[in-house]
Amino acid sequence: MGGRGDLRGEMPRFPLDDQTVDRLLSGAIHPDDAPPGYDHLAAIVKAVKAPASPAEMAARETTVAAMGAAIRGGAGIGMPGRALPRRKSMLGKLLTLKAAGIAIPAMALTAGVAAAATGSLPSTVQSSVSSALSNVGISVPNPSHSGGAGGSGSSGSSGSSGSSGSSGSSTGGSTAGSQKTTPVGPSASGSDLYGLCTAYEAQAAHSTTSTTGSTSGSSGSSTSGSSSSVAFSNLAAAAKAKGESVSAYCKGVTPPGKTTSSSASSKGTSESSSHRPTSTGSSNAPSNPGSGSSNASSNPGSGHGNVPTNPGSGSSNVPTNPGSGSSNASSNPGSGHGNVPTNPGSGSSNVPTNPGSGSSNASSNPGSGHGNASTNPGSGSSNVPTNPGSGSSNAPTNPGSGSSNASSNRGSSSAHGVPAGVTTGSGSPGEGH
């Protein structure tokens, strides 16, 4: 460490008094005026206290607006005539990625905000960000407001799986880039319709009411239900054909034969662990909101429209939909890690997602599923969405800023919406294919 003059290499000879220390550490002393031996330190301190950079302030407008709304109680913000309970902070949904299963890519809070405001984000991400921001009264372009939840645009970038925690599958649905085969998913009719409606409403409720899996009514947040999964796209199209909203369309649907009424068995408390809600049958929504760990939600058997979710910051959560279910959506939104949503078996239109900032997440759709979309949006790392087996129209993606992510479509898959391959490196949104 040698350097200049006789003052280097030895302890400074002048002890500093408290006032000088305070001034030095506050950056008030110019390097030229610093006590002998402290000039370099003064320079470094000044650099540390430099004014904010544009990158550091990229999320200012969004955050300030959301905070202001939250402080004011959120009354009337974004949802006329609907008072938002203070606890259910829209700010929380936006900022923490934890509550209600709404997954917002981290980029939405940082450098992506400006892009969102100009509609420059990949459309699926744009749609999700738009939905989330609309909840706090911020309007940015929403490409999916053209009727269908198509959300396409940049291939692979389902991005946030935004508002319904389960979607992510926008790539499966519609990736513009794919222009190839459109995955079919279950039709919005017949026996599948009830399951579809139930899954749709469960996710809509989940995204608007934070964590309790309570009923939706759902009209409001319909954008949240308008996730662009194949299944939901079909549902939305069917409703639109009748000139109705999805919610209205579903109201008239009767359960096929005997069905279990929607039972949202759920709720871990925010600190629960080893919680194992299970539900057989259909239209079930077991969930483990909050920050639980080692939670296992499962819907064994032949259920339909099941939505096990582990929102929040849980770890080692394993929502599964084994069996031959359809329209199943497992999701681990928030900042979990080591989460493994799986849809084994012969399910279809399954959408395991790990949005948020998780790491080491593995979404998989083994078996013979089709229309499956595994996604790891957000800033995760070491994520491995896979669709092994003989699935079709599979679209694993790793949008966001993940690193060392590997998407693959092993097996004899056909008609992939996204080409198989490996995506590595710190990607930016839209780079998921």
Binding site: M1, G2, G3, R8, E10, M11, P12, D18, V21, D22, L24, L25, S26, G27, G37, Y38, H40, L41, A43, I44, V45, A47, V48, K49, A50, A52, S53, P54, A55, E56, M57, R60, T63, V64, A66, M67, G68, A69, A70, I71, R72, G73, S89, L91, G92, L95, T96, L97, A106, L109, T110, S291, S293, S313, S315, S335, H337, S357, S379, S381
Partner: protein
């Protein structure tokens, strides 16, 4: 201004954000680079939730904010999401700094990150923490002591030792690297 922010006036919240977000982000980025933005969001969430009931002046607000940051950081680490950070030996600092592409990071942001890294490189954790809260967070000795749960005297001792060590180890090259010169 604080009262206006507590009433939810956007202009006042913006002032708070502008004043405290950069130091908050820099502090958390030093602590947990991979989770800094999420953690920062969590802190602002907590601020929004509890600001109305906060009692104190703006100096106390700063200490409160960083106390929240440390709690969120502790929560994050308890959840096992900790990414192990290895103190950067001084010798590797130059190589690290040189490997950053200004076009990617933005020159200003890179200078700050380099400066933070250099400010704390080689310091024992306790001293580095004190320096970060004093310099980056802008806390007084008493406020730093409060946030860290230490006595003010212990903070003064730590900062004096840190400053002496830094004064003895910082070189003109360090300064040039920080400023990209």
């Amino acid at each position: 201004m604080l009262a206006a922010a507590q009433a939810g006036q956007d202009w006042a919240v913006a002032v708070l954000y502008h004043a405290y977000h950069p130091p908050l982000l820099r502090y958390l980025r030093w602590q947990e680079p991979s989770a800094a933005e999420d953690l920062t969001g969590e802190v602002w969430l907590a601020v929004a939730q509890h600001l109305a009931s906060f009692r104190g002046d703006e100096a106390e607000l700063r200490a409160w904010l960083f106390a929240i940051a440390r709690r969120r950081l502790a929560d994050h680490r308890r959840r096992g999401a900790r990414r192990r950070t290895v103190p950067l030996p001084v010798e590797q600092f130059a190589a690290l700094a040189a490997s950053v592409d200004p076009a990617d990071a933005g020159l200003a942001a890179m200078s700050v990150e380099r400066a933070v890294a250099r400010l704390t490189a080689g310091l024992p954790r306790e001293q580095a923490e004190v320096v970060m809260l004093r310099v980056v967070a802008g806390l007084s000795v008493e406020e730093t002591a409060q946030v860290l749960g230490k006595r003010p005297g212990a903070v003064r001792v730590a900062q004096h030792r840190a400053l002496k060590r830094l004064a003895a180890t910082l070189t003109p090259d360090d300064v040039r690297q920080v400023f990209g010169v």
